[in-house]
Symmetry: C2
Subunit: 427 residues, 2 copies
């Protein structure tokens, strides 16, 4: 498909480039032109010309940490202490999940991503095979992340997935990862570090999410999770940590030294009473930051607008400084930072030759008016209701409330409800 | 207009009543029937029958604290320290506002309220006359609140407004209020307390929003704002405090004793680095709670869904307990608590004889699926994108993205942008 967007404001997110009025052309899966309005006749013949009506085109958001298939647990067990939530509710339900169920539950998450302008997600969950299939079937860009631990997924299985899912489908890729230090024994961690060295690949994991986790690691290993993993050689080729709430100065030094991504999940960290990540400190030390929603069991929504507001508002609260972590920095984390952590170097900005992963933001809504400052409007008052269109690899998957993912959303809702009932009954 | 909603789930918010399937009838400005589906023929002839498609009808949200007309300052001066923000940006711009400007700027806020299912707002701002007119012209329910302080609005002027705006229009009412202890001298406060006694009326004010405010009051008066105002006899007939972030045990006792409303504004309190209100403590002491967005200069959006999530998520973080302030309690604050604080006893629940102030929530969207628990879905993953219809006093003012307030929203946006430019140029 060749698609031409005219009459749009464009935020390319190239460093230092301001928003400008112009147009953007898509050929097949790539952007072929971004610039001022073209006056002369333009080749090729367009399958569609979209009058943007002065609205904003920008890169899509990247959800840098999620467990998409956990949609079945949304609103199933909230308002409970963490331990009870996990052991009495989440684990027993998860134990009954089949790969086929995760296929359908992931599709439900993909629908929600599209409504929030999320064009790619890094997904750490149980069954890479059916998650990859769900993404490919919908046309959604998915970065699978290894979830090795002592109870499920072996390092050998991860190596197989790494080979298979980096050559499976243009929209699917695979990163090395493990669940967390506290669920993964030393021998296994060493095997992962070895695999990372062989593949020259970054490694991702849950890191320092709760105070108890850090204290437990110090008790077990005499050091924090970050220090321990670094000593095991885990981060020779980079990677990152999900959450990173309770970080020591030494931890931060390690993140800065290896350019590890701090992937923050503010809504989940509040709702599970884990804490507030030191995002201002990340920035001051030059640590790259990306934003994730975490899974729908702990958030419970998959909405980058809510996360963006929380990143800046919580930083302002934490630093006791209303000028901390400004809107421009947050927007960069959500669109460009996420692409960096997820290895999507072709999906970060709007430029000729890049993948056409982009969103159209409706500025003709009261929460985006008046137009004093569009970037601040996006972060402080923006909402998923402003997402008019979501395009991935040149295909429009969502437009003004309608989905184009090859399946009726009502069928996906019905399936998700049926699965949830079945799992609940089996308890 | 007589309107019949069929095929809806109904959350009346009467204490203890579960969601049920049924229908609801509106005649003129009131609800005349809420109950199970009616099988026989139903009088009267309907101007409109709305098939709710299994979606949820519930009472509208009440924005219990706002400065609606401050829309012109949205995204104008964020990411600045509070002092600089207020003195160098907000006050100079506000000094140039005319009553007519506030009329148009308030209309912009009303559009946004409608998109978020907000059916009434308590508005403390500069020009009650044009705010009342904006509300009446749009069909929006507005509770004007006195904004007396040493620099604008006298107690005599407030008494006049109290008389006038409690008999001006069915959708408009007026409550006594003053800006804050730190902007209002003792003599004036005593005059307000005297007026409240004469009118047997509650009084509302900003209370203990920042640590500096409380410390300043203790320095000036030897006691906290709450204790000081109570000793002046301010709360003999009730009322409430906006923000209530930094409250002593004695302050909480006074709020409980007089059943004063704690009106919490979590987004604003984070963004301006003011702190987190002790909402769990309010509930444990039986203090009634309502939720406000505060003004668009400090929030910056007027969205009850974001506020609801923040109320519970911040309580969980503050108490270090993921079970604090559950979803049901938050939803009650947003719909029923607000009606209580704003004196709207006819707009709190869905029942025959009550005002038809209600919203239709679209459950057929991915963030509301699966349907494990609708109330939790609303609070934890709900969004303004789920608001399918907003009705005030029996009139549909917003439906699926379209507004019915007697003026084209594009004209309101244009006006707001023009005013903002004019004010900016005048700086």
């Amino acid at each position: 498909m060749n698609i031409r967007f005219t009459n749009v404001k464009i935020l390319t997110m190239e460093p230092g480039r301001e928003i400008f009025d112009g147009e953007l052309h898509v050929k097949d899966d790539r952007i072929v032109y971004v610039g001022p309005t073209v006056q002369e006749a333009v080749d090729p013949v367009w399958d569609r010309e979209i009058d943007g009506e002065g609205n904003l085109l920008m890169p899509g958001f990247k959800n840098a940490h999620a467990h998409s298939g956990m949609t079945f647990l949304r609103s199933y067990a909230d308002d409970l202490p963490l331990h009870e939530w996990l052991n009495d509710r989440v684990f027993p339900m998860e134990a009954k999940l089949t790969p086929e169920m995760i296929y359908h539950l992931t599709k439900l998450a993909i629908l929600e991503y599209l409504t929030s302008g999320i064009t790619a997600a890094a997904d750490m969950y149980l069954t890479p095979d059916t998650i990859a299939r769900a993404a490919a079937d919908c046309g959604f860009r998915m970065v699978l992340v290894g979830a090795v631990n002592d109870f499920s997924q072996s390092v050998e299985e991860m190596e197989r997935c790494y080979e298979v899912y980096n050559h499976y489908h243009p929209l699917v890729s695979y990163q090395l990862g493990f669940h967390a230090e506290y669920t993964t024994g030393r021998e296994r961690l060493e095997a992962i570090a070895d695999l990372a060295a062989r593949k020259k690949a970054p490694v991702f994991t849950h890191n320092s999410e709760t105070k108890a986790e850090v204290e437990g690691c110090i008790e077990r290993n005499g050091m924090t999770p970050t220090v321990y993993l670094e000593k095991l050689g885990m981060f020779r080729y980079g990677g990152g940590g999900y959450h990173c709430v309770h970080m020591s100065p030494e931890d931060l030094d390690i993140f800065a030294e290896h350019s590890l991504y701090a992937i923050t999940n503010p809504a989940s960290n509040l709702k599970l009473a884990s804490g507030i990540a030191p995002v201002e400190e990340f920035l001051q030390r030059g640590i790259p930051v990306a934003i994730g929603t975490d899974g729908p069991a702990s958030n419970n929504c998959l909405d980058m607008f809510r996360e963006m507001f929380l990143v800046t508002a919580l930083a302002k609260y934490r630093e006791n400084d209303a000028s901390a972590v400004d809107a421009g920095k947050v927007l960069r984390m959500a669109a460009v930072g996420g692409a960096g952590s997820m290895g999507l170097s072709d999906c970060d900005i709007l430029a000729a030759g890049k993948q056409a992963d982009l969103i159209l933001i409706d500025l003709h809504q009261p929460n985006m008016q008046p137009i004093n400052h569009i970037v601040k409007n996006l972060v402080y008052s923006g909402s998923k209701s402003n997402v008019a269109l979501t395009m991935i690899a040149g295909k429009i998957l969502y437009e003004r409330g309608s989905f184009f993912i090859g399946e009726d959303p009502e069928a996906i809702y019905a399936k998700a409800n049926e699965i949830t009932r079945r799992l609940g009954d089996a308890q």
